[in-house]
Symmetry: C2
Subunit: 623 residues, 2 copies
């Protein structure tokens, strides 16, 4: 490589350092030392290796960049500013209210695909973007910059093993090994050879470089982009705070901006290093290499899938209907992709695999990566459906949280919810999944009670932008809706009602059938109740619930196969909080045991008999 | 090794297979093929390698065994039955209601230290048990049996790297590489050399064996127990369903019991393989090797830590007081141990490290392992305090869930909660942590509003058996309680009250100070309100809340630095659900931005001004 070119990149790295110092000092917080260690890597990436149009950061031909070490956000913003996507003068607004230059990157900025800042998640997102590129026939390469400290996160190794397994040679990880975490040295410090062994053992090509030797860095990054049948890791030995003599390679400087004087001195020191070389520019993609991007498929525009084909009374598990619905949807919309964690024969995601094998990704027993990859796929216009047992989606709680911060268009399906799974016992029972998904801003939580509704929930999920959770059950339950029954996010169904109703029973999923049984039993005793199927737990039809409550003496009984905290009952309470309605909540209130489903519903207080007893009690008909 | 000895162990393995088949067929569900692949490994472990007293499974000198592949529970129960800890006739009660032989192991059984069944968690628990052994000077070895499929979980590699880093040569992992997951072949199938490379790269000794060659298995396991300065992994090539010709090494047989006829045939086939050798017995620990166990330190019996030393009005962050309290507690109780995820200078767990370095474990950026190791330490009588930013504890949501199933005595502290952290932005804000911890059965959730309360919460947490979560805040807030103020789990404090109170404001943490400001502002406008510090969010004093509501026109205003779902407001709603009280909930209702703490409290509707406006509105005083 030409010396002047190297000098230009070095000057760019110096400028990125200066921007990072200036912005964090102005903000009074932030992570300048974490920016400085990676400045050479980012300069080489943005101004030599990556091919992208800065003004159109998500153009399909562009290479993509994920800053997994999100606390180096000022460096990211500086690089995009130098590339022309931001006004350099804006950099000084870092971390200010109403500036989109947040403390850690979020997709409020057009060039950020996924929010980062919870360490160890970026490689999964990059993997999702790389998978999408492969599906779309795009020649783009995905670069993910990781810190060394975050390589302690197991999620990094989930992404690594899956990328290795799928031989994603369009994925490049760059690890900024600056040897310091937040509170002390990392486990491996500068032992680059161990990093090499780990990545190699997980199926990667690994290239070790001095991360401050621009020639080495550029050569390694260029080599890493060659299609070799393996993902590539560039492992860069760096110094935290590189370029700031006062703090370089010193512990105790994580997340600390320089004081104004120190910043001035550091900037002067850095400016003295400038060669005054010609600065490099971002390089546009080579068009010929890129297949045309498939037109984005908007679900409403896609062919609607055929309607459900069940007869009332058929015994069908909602998880099976989920699979049916997903397969139909996938056939009608090529943007639909399913990822499953080696339980596809239980969640029935396998039905999509059978129908459209190229739209299915086996994610193995690595739920964090499933969710993270989902966010990456969504960032490329796919509509990913991520499935596992509901309880195992808790493994990805932080990834789901971050997908919420990203406002990602990811759908989740958790099967095997509640005690109704039976003999497998509490470790396999999803009993906190509603609570987890309700706590994601803007999410929808759907909990179908029969197969017709379950199929429709899949369609509804695809049509809504954002995070949607579908909760499915293991047991076969009777079909109660006709195939043409309409459903909507935010809706509910009043299944039983009369003018004499003394209370309203609100249920969903398996407990809906208990509620219907209770209705029969109460009717036999001369007590009328209203029964509501609250299949849309979030958002929910508060007006509908309130009307039912008002019409039934202000008495609601909620019953759910979920813990008492954060579930359906709490959603009802929240909706009616200011109305003074009395809500009697039946829910699981202790760690359950193994047993038969019916035994467990009875033991844990959510069966028809408990509904009957509660209604009798709250209506004063207790004998 | 003697041929007769090998034959005895082989016969034992055959018996374990027979028990497993019989029990799962009787139950009509379960995982016989996953038991059969590991039967030789378990026979060798229980009847040659491990030293333990079956009737006293938690005696300090005993080696410990963790079945990470919890679905092989029937094999575990069979081994303990053969060892004498269970009546063999009980095995047939597998998965029945009221039998403790649940579908996956839980500590309802005395020989189960931690519940398993959510894959990939057992190695962290084993690591915790091994750390406890090292702290206690016990010579015991900890054996963890993993499946190959679960090695795809990142949590396994978190545990592996930490065990490697701490050179835990009292920890032995055995991987049952039977090449099949639930729904298809694993990524690595029988490529044992890749498993070897991975464990070696993570700092382990690795021994590859034929898992059905008893001589090889025993020799490798014995070698693995030698103290070498490294943890050891025995990587065993096995066949799923080994010993059942019909299903051996075949896909599609995960989690399927044999029908009765097939079971009879399989058992006959296995019985024909019995050598009729003398059966081995469990071997007691060599006493001389074992240091005396330290007497368990019951918190009430331990010296109480000195009281908080703050003056009213001091500006102290609750996270700092957490660290102070933890250090005091650690000094007074040697069973107290802290684990932190490389944020000890933010959570202030570093104060315990400074005070009692041998009671502090740096867990690096690997929160799943932190939580899993906590459960292992708790199983050995330690009182672990696991800390990180609250948002990053969501990374361990599944481990926390399983600690709940185990009823583990683990304490968690999540710092940096809510928008009040300020400029770092949403990725660093814990806004769903209350929801997560409330949904653990039997948990306590404490949310101190000042430094005195925070220190007392640490003590309260240690004194309560079970999972306790302490939520701490980043900003400095004024001390409002005297050092001798009493606090209790399940308590609340009425901080302001008068006979003229028109509403009750319920707050905790930073919003408590907003509520106190609102009280002042409302007072200036002639409106009296009651102010409650709900520092114990779960359990909570429902009677106290109800009394306040009744005394203030049935109007409650809750205000929390948490999302609206599953937090403090929902806890209040849940407690008063049947009372017809009107609750006006102020909470964060969208993904926040970066900004200054005060700006963010204002923007997201939880500042004093919002409390004032809400009180005026709900009391009809709106102008």
């Amino acid at each position: 490589m030409q010396a002047t070119k190297v000098q230009g990149l070095e000057d760019m790295a110096t400028r990125l350092r200066i921007h990072s110092i200036r912005a964090t000092t102005a903000a009074g917080s932030g992570h300048p030392t974490s920016c400085c260690s990676a400045a050479d890597l980012v300069a080489a990436l943005f101004f030599d290796v990556m091919r992208f149009r800065p003004k159109h950061p998500t153009a399909p031909g562009n290479d993509r960049f994920v800053l997994s070490k999100g606390h180096a956000a000022p460096l990211l913003y500086a690089a995009w500013a130098e590339a022309g996507a931001l006004a350099p003068g804006d950099l000084i607004n870092l971390r200010k209210m109403d500036s989109d230059l947040e403390g850690h990157p979020t997709p409020r900025l057009p060039f950020v695909d996924v929010a980062t800042g919870s360490l160890g998640q970026g490689l999964s997102s990059g993997l999702g973007i790389a998978l999408a590129a492969r599906m779309d026939g795009s020649a783009r390469t995905v670069f993910v910059l990781l810190g060394d400290g975050e390589c302690a996160e197991g999620s990094v190794w989930e992404a690594a093993e899956i990328a290795g397994y799928y031989r994603l040679d369009n994925l490049v990880a760059i690890v900024d090994v600056n040897r310091f975490g937040q509170s002390q040295a990392t486990m491996l410090e500068h032992d680059l050879q161990v990093y090499r062994k780990r990545f190699e053992a997980f199926g990667w090509r690994a290239l070790v470089v001095d991360g401050h030797d621009m020639g080495q860095v550029v050569r390694a990054l260029r080599r890493a982009t060659r299609r070799s049948g393996q993902p590539a890791a560039v492992l860069a030995r760096t110094l935290k705070g590189k370029g700031i003599p006062e703090v370089e390679d010193k512990d105790g400087w994580h997340g600390k901006p320089l004081k104004e004087d120190a910043a001035r001195q550091a900037i002067a020191h850095l400016e003295a290093q400038l060669h005054g070389a010609k600065l490099p520019k971002a390089r546009a993609p080579r068009k010929a290499k890129d297949a045309p991007a498939p037109p984005p498929v908007d679900p409403p525009a896609a062919q609607p899938p055929p309607p459900p084909a069940y007869a009332i009374g058929d015994m069908v598990a909602t998880r099976l209907a989920y699979g049916e619905g997903l397969a139909k949807l996938g056939k009608s919309n090529p943007a639909v992709v399913a990822l499953d964690g080696d339980v596809k024969n239980s969640t029935f995601a396998e039905k999509l695999k059978a129908a459209c094998p190229e739209q299915f990704i086996e994610g193995f027993i690595a739920e964090q990566n499933l969710a993270g990859a989902g966010a990456g796929l969504a960032a490329c216009g796919k509509i990913p459906f991520v499935s596992s047992f509901a309880c195992f989606l808790t493994r990805a709680c932080d990834q789901i949280r971050m997908a919420g911060v990203s406002r990602s268009n990811v759908k989740f399906c958790g099967s095997h919810v509640g005690v109704s799974i039976g003999e497998d016992g509490p470790s396999q029972m999803g009993l906190e999944d509603i609570a987890m998904f309700r706590a994601v801003p803007g999410s929808a939580v759907l909990y179908p009670g029969d197969a017709v509704c379950a199929e429709r929930c899949v369609e509804l999920a695809a049509r809504r932008h954002g995070i949607v959770y579908i909760r499915t059950s293991r047991p076969n339950t009777p079909v109660i809706y006709r195939a043409d029954e309409p459903f909507a996010i935010g809706g509910l169904k009043v299944l039983r009602q009369s003018d004499a109703d003394a209370a309203t029973v609100v249920a969903a999923g398996v407990t809906l059938h208990e509620a219907l049984k209770a209705w029969e039993q109460l009717k036999a005793r001369g007590v009328a109740v209203r029964v509501i199927d609250l299949y849309s737990v979030k958002p929910l039809d508060g007006a509908g619930l309130l009307a039912a409550a008002r019409a039934t003496g202000g008495r609601l009984v909620t019953v759910e196969d979920h813990y008492a905290e954060g579930g359906l009952g709490d959603a009802v309470l929240e909706a009616l909080a200011t109305e003074g309605v009395r809500v009697h909540k039946l829910a699981v209130r202790e760690v359950p045991r193994s047993g038969k489903p019916a035994e467990l519903l009875e033991r844990y207080g959510i069966s028809a008999s408990h509904i009957v007893a509660t209604v009798l009690r709250v209506t004063g008909r207790e004998s």
